[in-house]
Symmetry: C2
Subunit: 169 residues, 2 copies
């Protein structure tokens, strides 16, 4: 994972060969744990999200969403955005790839944001059964901007989405 | 356009050669009007959206959104979904392709839904300056489901999104 993070951060080609070399293990060892380059990169991205995007607890859904989405935008440096776009292209081209991406990466990000929504539900700010729809809307807007370049992923985006999902009471 | 629609509906390969043949014109004539196959397909998809997705006027944002998104889901038959996924992959792979897709297709769909939101703004149901964020959220959720297959694009999706964006007063 650490070797993959390093290579991802350097923005160059991430291959099984390069990861094995950087980690000081054989390619055979790497393949014993991950079936493909895509699977290593997805796990590394999920781990990176987990460690760089803290779960905020500001006391309101609006505040939590703004903080969470600001961290999300901040953690998406140019190399990461490039990888995320490649992942979207792979998913759009192939339903099997989409399934692996959901299992290894999308589900981890949904689970993290879902904890923010669950806390909001206990405060009565959202209805718990709406959480899946809200996750679709929020992560949908992120990928839509990333893929079609309809607007920047920045703090203004984070605050606008937070305000639209959690209007002031 | 009609020839392109026919070929798209048949689900087979859509090439400039095939479009020209079906339309009974030379490839040179076709290239005089469209620079690439992608540009013809995008224009045909935009025209198809315009003609198969009516602008509803139910009197409420919730009703209008549910009707508009139900029509959107209905108009996306399997051949169209396949084309839309190919378009998403092209956009994710190449920022120039993303720009052409925004200009020829995405902007037309945003303009249509924006008219629904503008009517809701005159009724005081949304703030006009939030429209762009709402367009991102709504179309984001559509593409997110289409690309990553996180859930079906059907009437339940349409109704859930309408309810989340326009809660009952």
């Amino acid at each position: 994972m650490a070797a993959t993070h390093e290579l991802m951060g350097e923005g160059g080609a991430v291959s099984m060969e390069a990861i094995a070399k950087r980690a000081g293990v054989s390619k055979e060892t790497l393949y014993r744990w991950w079936p493909s380059k895509t699977s290593v990169v997805l796990d590394a991205l999920a781990e990176r999200g987990q460690s760089t995007i803290p779960l905020p607890d500001t006391g309101t859904l609006r505040g939590d969403l703004a903080a969470f989405l600001r961290s999300t935008a901040d953690s998406a440096d140019p190399a990461t955005r490039h990888l995320l776009r490649a992942i979207a292209a792979a998913a759009a081209n192939d339903l099997d790839a989409a399934a692996e991406i959901r299992t290894r990466f999308i589900s981890a990000r949904r689970a993290a944001l879902n904890r923010v929504l669950a806390r909001a539900a206990t405060r009565g700010e959202v209805i718990a059964s709406n959480a899946d729809t809200l996750l679709d809307l929020i992560y949908g807007s992120l990928w839509y901007r990333l893929i079609f370049d309809v607007g920047p992923l920045d703090h203004t985006w984070a605050d606008d989405i937070a305000a639209a999902i959690a209007p002031a009471p």
